[in-house]
């Protein structure tokens, strides 16, 4: 548990990071929502701010005056138990409040929070909610990157976000495979540092022998799968995946473009030639699974990943696992609105482990459980194999 002083540092750094990420944007980039999974950047900035006003200031800062009575309605995301909300598909239809209004709202709430944190001794519950609020904003920082990438990468003009942004690290690892023996392993978050409810409840699992790859699958390897007709071989795919591949004419990872016979990929640094040694990214679980089938291997379960992760490097991609997102044994959903944070998504989603180039510095750990629907590709998703 962080001290109040440490929390002030975390809070300030977090608030600043969100604004730094957006500093490369034009006003127009803050507004649009090209697909339902993407939110307008201005919405992320407002929503993370609303969280602090709704769950901290309203409760713990007695004399706090709301910045505006309509903010809750506009910036609530999915807390069904906290009043009405703008339906998700409508976010990109709202030109107001404006970007400059939102920055004023941010400043107002940041200052009110700092006044509270600097002048009042807060109890554990309050400190806990503030810490969650910081981690919540860090999650949205990752979404800011991926949503901005979608907004710009979906544009026929392929504008650059930031020329300095490096997306495609090459992996130079000596070792190929890591072996673990069958037996009992402990899974779940152990320290008293911050974690989400879905990581809690340390428990044993029994794993069979397995070998896990030290390297993520690369662009070059995935290209071999494509060239071998992987997207056309029904026997490699789940039934729902096959429908998806055909309905959307999926023939390559997302953001790949063949230009004059050569594969390029859109990155936050603009369109670049495909780097064969870099880990493949923007693939769905379906594609990761089909690739593994083609290699005669499989994806790791999240337990296998967690048990072996200290032996390999990770952090450049969120990695798909074979595991469906389910509660751990003895999972306890928090009371009240914050109970909506994780538990209600525990169906029809796959767990991802790791972290990506878009992940905030302090925002991943080996027990972190990310989750997405199996067909989604706009996150920085890759995968490693198990045999």
């Amino acid at each position: 548990m962080l001290s109040q002083q440490e929390l002030i540092t975390l809070f300030k750094e977090t608030r600043k990071d969100s604004e730094d990420i957006c500093s490369y944007l034009e006003t127009e980039d803050y507004v649009v929502q090209p697909i339902v999974d993407v939110s307008p950047p201005k919405w992320h900035l407002g929503h993370t701010t609303w969280f602090f006003e709704e769950f901290v200031l309203k409760k713990y800062a007695e004399s706090h005056k709301l910045f505006d009575k309509n903010t809750a309605y506009v910036f609530n995301s999915y807390y069904e138990s906290v009043g009405d909300k703008v339906i998700r598909t409508n976010r990109g239809n709202l030109s107001r409040p404006t970007v400059s209004w939102i920055y004023e709202f941010r400043d107002y709430v940041t200052n009110s929070m700092l006044e509270l944190l600097n002048n009042k001794d807060l109890d554990e519950e309050a400190l806990g909610v503030i810490e969650i609020g910081c981690h919540h904003e860090k999650q949205h920082q990752e979404l800011l990157y991926t949503d901005i990438k979608y907004i710009l990468g979906n544009n026929p003009l392929f504008p650059k976000y930031n020329e300095q942004f490096k997306e495609n690290p090459i992996q130079n690892f000596k070792k190929d495979w890591i072996t673990l023996g069958e037996g009992l392993y402990e899974i779940g978050h152990k320290s008293d540092a911050f974690c989400y409810d879905n990581e809690q409840g340390v428990h044993k699992v029994f794993l069979c022998d397995f070998e896990i790859s030290n390297k993520l699958v690369t662009n070059g390897e995935f290209l071999e799968f494509m060239e071998a007709g992987g997207y056309q071989d029904v026997l490699l795919w789940h039934a729902e995946a096959w429908d998806w591949v055909n309905e959307h004419t999926i023939r390559s990872p997302f953001y790949w473009h063949k230009i004059d016979g050569e594969w390029h990929t859109y990155t936050l640094n603009g369109l670049v030639k495909l780097e064969p040694e870099a880990p493949v990214t923007h693939v769905s679980y379906y594609e990761a699974f089909a690739y593994a089938q083609w290699k005669g291997m499989r994806l790791p379960t999240e337990q296998e990943w967690e048990a072996s992760q200290d032996q390999f490097e990770w952090g450049s991609r969120w990695e798909w696992t074979e595991s469906a997102y389910s509660p751990y044994p003895n999972y306890k959903k928090p009371e009240g609105a914050l109970g909506e944070y994780n538990g209600k998504f525990m169906v029809n989603q796959k767990v991802l482990r790791g972290g990506s180039v878009a992940t905030s510095a302090r925002h991943t750990r080996h027990t972190y459980r990310n989750f997405f629907h199996p067909q989604l590709r706009w996150q920085f998703t890759g995968f490693r194999l198990v045999k």
Copy 2:
């Protein structure tokens, strides 16, 4: 036909008007597209500019350099024969080009056009296309008003566009009904002033006796229909209208809101109390028809409207007619891309006559044929009755 000098005046006035309309907007307001029928204001500004570059400068200004090679793709609307285009539903997903880029594009093309108009004697064909380009931009000015109204009126914050904007003129007419006798009437555009292809081909029609109302149906009258259960009486509605009413739970004209028991309506001047003496607006053809059924009357045909229009005042609302949008006898579709302007819409739409508070000063006449799908309501649409 306008002289080249008159055309310069028309062109300059037209270009300025579009920018004046947008001068009340925030940057964010230029970007969004809340429904497919609405286009982002920045798209209108770019598209009307692209029209002059594509159809005039490329052809008649030999040394013209394109402002940017990607503009055609982004700003083509429906000219299928002029290359690819951004599909209509995707317009609101594009944050780039930015608003300031578009204003630079406008300036560049306006200046190039003026240079051409001031320095070269243009032939009739060229002058004709430029005149169409001005009228085309005036059409988009009307759409700018209605699309801006939708963008702001759809926003839960109901921002005002312009406090000075007057939407709801009251009609103080002595006479109620105007009578025309049966006989032959001439329909179609006769002078050699500008008109669209769909107005051409003067021809005779035989009309039976009819009486047409001097006044548009008012808000107060429409409220009586609502209170009499008009929206619930299946026998008043077309079959497709009844499905529409029920699927969308239509219970009042668009932009009407009942607040604390009192009817309000969103206008470009913000939310205001309903004015019972003002003509009703933002009704679909379906609603106009149902109202007429309920009164035991009917809507005029476009021929009846044109034959009688010089006896009544019009211009505050586009008026629904009973007429489907069809070609006049001997209708000739122009050759080439401009042939796509009108003819291809001549199915499943209803003709509107008149003009509205959003219509540009020189942009209506008694032969003008506007047309929309029968369920649409975001235009300033009203109606008058015939018995």
Copy 3:
């Protein structure tokens, strides 16, 4: 107006005809509904029977006992004002009542009707409703043919309905074009024989000079259009038509199949080779319009068709006209449920004139106005040209 005795003959003949049409079916053929526009044959048999029980027996046969209290619910089609109904898309999901139950229901109602007609002097109103009931059933006989054709022609086994059924008459006409001069013509139903409300109200129209083809466009002519790339040339199509062509990959008239390089067409007599001299059929209005554009001609209006029809042969195809389906001047919608018969469809549909190989003997006349949505093709629809 028919005498009661003539009506008995009409009634008996009509009831028998429906059953004769179905005598070629297997029980399973009575049940399915492959698209929403098609109704299961058993539904047609039940619905036309329900009409007589609901609108005649219930009102005029005092002691009539309903065959079954649930029939109204199952067999009501679109009379919204007469209680609930099975929604149209659900008709093909109902295995009960069975076919044999429906034949019992038919016998019961036919006998009750004959008892009424033979034993009681009915007033004009009653006789009028019975005559409508007969014509209503004749309309459904045409739908029986076209729906049966869809049911069998949609089946990958292409079963034959009846080996004797002749669909494709060849036209051997000397004269090509018929000329009419400009002037006033009278339109509408004049005799006191039966007609629908939408044909009534004789009125004058002024027509310009035109020439109308003596022949319907043939399969061979339409094939030339296809081979000239007609389906790929955007400038020939309405905007909505172009979307339809591309969304459904329309490349030929409905029921055409290219087998081993040769065009075949499914008919009620099974798959046969395309007959180039026979009139083309199963084309939409959109395709008829595009063909006319390609020929530099146009479709007739319904007034032109009616004014010239006595000079050409018709009756092998329903013919698309350019006219939208609208009320005639002074159209009066009947009171009550029967008022739902025609008027409520007068939007977004095109008028067809003529009659087809599926039309019942006494069920067409030169004032008859059929109507369908412009994209529909399962009727026996063809067209002739005007220049």
Copy 4:
């Protein structure tokens, strides 16, 4: 492994059972497909027959003549690797082949199979495929019951299938809860009797302490949840479940009807009053989960169910578990078309354990893994709780 003689018995019994189930149907009941999840009974009868002709007779009966070359196309279900198939949604649109044709097809294939089985010594592979074919047909027998129930229960006339059919057994158990201690348990199919690939690969799992209910949740208990507002309390539901509840206005288990203030349920024996002591059925996973949340308990995992099942009675309902359908460790997908049997469904589905009143006598076992999407309700699905 069954001997060839035992297999003959199993085969004959299986073929007869399918036909016995259908013996209560009218011809029309064999044809319809009211929702995509339901197949027409005649399709089940044909498909299970096609399986034997495609995978056994074609391969092992050298001189076998196909009954009809089109059967494969019509009766293939999901074996994408075995040629074209009728898309699932189109099954209910096919009136041909007729029911009597299908019975001839069945007789032909049954006789050919018996000739093969009686006159040739088959190798293990062949015997294995035939055994799978029998179990495959038993699976379809269960679907026959549930699909017939949907076909009749969806009909507004609520026809009875069979007056003798008992759906709602009452549970009279002394013990309420069964306790298992933490430790290693073995999961998976051990004997050499028949099982599917997805049950194979015996492996250890570590389970924490848990208590599992001896009884399935009853209608009466579920009614308490309904009356306490369970369907209206967002905090009890998954996010996707909440959307589902609201989009489809779900307010009770499927087949429940409130008539004159009293709850009834449609059963294969017609509409009956709700039996409070019988286990609830036709609930989705979402509803089972929400009920468990409301009770402060949870659903068992499939491992917990398998580890404890020998201590409780089961078999009257398929029971939802918390487990997503995933491969067991070391799962091996069979080669070729039969490899499509199970593996390709291992995403977005939940495992069910147990068996129901519709399950064929020899067609369940404690390792059997059924699976459905979480929102489906037309199977006989219930649940028990864990705390």
